[in-house]
Amino acid sequence: MDWVGIFSSALSDMIGPFAAIYALAAVGLNLHFGYTGLLNFGQVAFMLVGAYGVGVAVVTFSLSLWWGILVAILASVVVALILGIPTLRLRGDYLAIATIAAGEVLRLFFNSTYTEPVTNGAFGLGPTNNEFNALNPIPNGTYQLGPFQYTSSALWVMLVTWSLVALACVLVFLLMRSPWGRVLRSVREDELAARSLGKSVYGYKLQSLVLGGVLGGLAGVMYTMDISTQFPNNFDPKVTFYLWVIMTLGGAGRIIGPVVGAVIFWFLFSFLGAFLGELFPGANTGAARIAIVGLILMLLMVFRPAGILGDPEEMRLEVR
């Protein structure tokens, strides 16, 4: 068995473009669930409109990358408002239902022949990253440092995305140490109590949904910068569930929890893929890989429900 190859790919993916993209989207999800208590089961919807916002602007309408990013951000805001305005006054479950449905509806809508003139439907939209690659300051080629191995374009995506992740973490840190963050956490703990103290709970939930949604949208932008040609089916509900695994793995309600979670998740995910591939050559091991990730999540819930950075004592207080 090629252990060197397995570990090389696992370690490379651990901090690779996908880990960075998922970390960015998970920071947004953490703002939703970890700090505000919003049950968002459709973070992938924000990634989809982010990716298609930039994709449609750049490919279909030949706008510049910067306009595309603006469109992506605006699209995320609009989706957040459409999902939030009707549901955030209601009990938390309604947002969960609306988001999980929205993700699927958007995926099918972008996949349909009806939208094909704009989205190119199931044939895929691309290339979306020409302008992004033109900005790449790293000379062409493949770079290797120990087990880590990347192409120059992957490095460029990593550099930009990890920078965005760092900025997002700083933003969340600044927000959470402020009175604004205090209100957000009070909404997570008990909405009625926050309202009885004069806080506009609805407004704060909407702000949180929009901000976390924009982070998801930016993750979508970076995703399409990485893969270049995107298909609506790239944005299936699995992505959202990976994000939930990442957030709970790292520790919900911890600033760098999603980052730690993304790094560990992608190491495990990549390791399992390469390992199972070596173990059963030629077999389709994709499902087994996902099943094992599910098993790991279950064990995590049993033995460390607060995640790696979370405080188990604090977790226990949740029982009212």
């Binding site: 600044l174 956490r185 004069g198 806080k199 604090e314 207080l317």
Partner: protein, 323 residues
């Protein structure tokens, strides 16, 4: 106390010190209550005087009402849970709402505080129309309520619980919150106020503990203290004594009276008759959604409608066969 927490000595020693400090705090408490009693009598008599000329009948008008409810009703399907023709609450008094279970006291509370929508009716608070305003808006205007089942924000510290209560915080707006110098001074002021109130409610030692680690009684105190951070004109306490041990009840009562003496109007829902008779300036009795009686404690004690409401239905029940 806090340094002792951080550096705990041998267990026996710590326990001794703890019980000592408990004794001490009880002694201090008594001192304070005694010291307070004279003032309290004055405030109580002021409130009593203001109500002296008020007729003890449902819907009677008060000289200086802080809250006036008119034809407030709330219907749940076929059940008319609240049907208040007219109710006024005198400013600066401690008014108790009593009545059998299901009489509509809590529903009335929910409606008036904006947590439930009335089927019909209006109410004015401080001369201002309140119907249709959101609960958070009503709270900011100075009518703050607590809940029957305490709502401590469990994964936030006692201090954070308190500081949340302060209104008009610049740092609670999205963009200013990112720039600490803008709100830091205000936050410090709020912290000082929160510490003072925690001290006052004997919770200073829990300052940096998660509210979730507190006992039921401490949570009641915290919720009351937190409500006071809003600086309300009217504080509405929904069963503040429920689930609190008798020793702490006395201390809670003292706190509630002190709030009244400090100028806050207090409305409370309570079941314990002894408690109500001893502390209230005015009592409003609900039954089947309506106000059936109101008056001073002495009026209520001798009121036939109240006696019927509490005992009549029981009397009408067939006697149980002896086993």
């Amino acid at each position: 106390m806090r340094s002792a927490d951080r550096n705990p000595g041998p267990r026996a020693g710590a326990t001794a010190a703890q019980s000592e400090s408990v004794d001490e705090s009880i002694a201090q408490e008594r001192e304070r209550v005694l010291h307070h009693e004279q003032e309290q009598d004055l405030a109580a008599s002021a409130a009593a005087q203001a109500l002296a000329s008020v007729a003890a009948e449902p819907g009677s008008s008060k000289p200086d009402p802080i809250l006036v409810a008119k034809k407030v009703s709330r219907r749940f399907g076929g059940l008319l849970a609240v049907d208040v023709e007219h109710l006024e609450v005198q400013r600066g008094t401690l008014t108790a709402l009593i009545g059998p279970n299901g009489a509509g006291k809590s529903t009335f509370f929910n409606v008036v505080s904006g947590f439930d929508k009335p089927t019909s009716g209006t109410w004015r608070f401080n001369g201002r129309e309140m119907a249709g305003l959101s609960a958070n808006r009503i709270a900011r205007l100075g009518m703050v309520r607590t809940f029957q089942l305490t709502k401590a924000l469990t994964r936030m510290t006692a201090l954070e619980n308190m500081m949340l209560g302060a209104t008009d915080q610049l740092g609670e707006h999205f963009l200013p919150s990112l720039i600490r110098p803008l709100w830091r001074a205000q936050d410090k002021q709020i912290e000082v106020r929160a510490d003072n109130l925690l001290e006052h409610f004997n919770l200073a030692h829990m300052r940096d503990q998660f509210a979730g680690t507190m006992s039921g009684g401490q949570r009641k105190l915290l919720e009351m203290a937190r409500a006071m951070m809003v600086q309300p004109d009217l504080l509405m306490l929904d069963e503040p004594m429920a689930g609190v041990n008798p020793a702490l009840t006395q201390s809670l009562l003292g706190h509630i009276q002190a709030l009244r003496d400090g100028g806050t109007t207090v409305i409370l829902v309570e079941h314990d008759m002894d408690v109500i008779m001893s502390i209230s300036d005015w009592i409003v009795c609900f039954a089947e959604g309506r106000v059936i009686a109101e008056g001073r404690p002495d009026d209520i004690r001798s009121n036939q409608a109240v006696v019927d409401a509490y005992l009549g239905s029981q009397r009408a029940l067939p006697r149980k066969q002896e086993e």
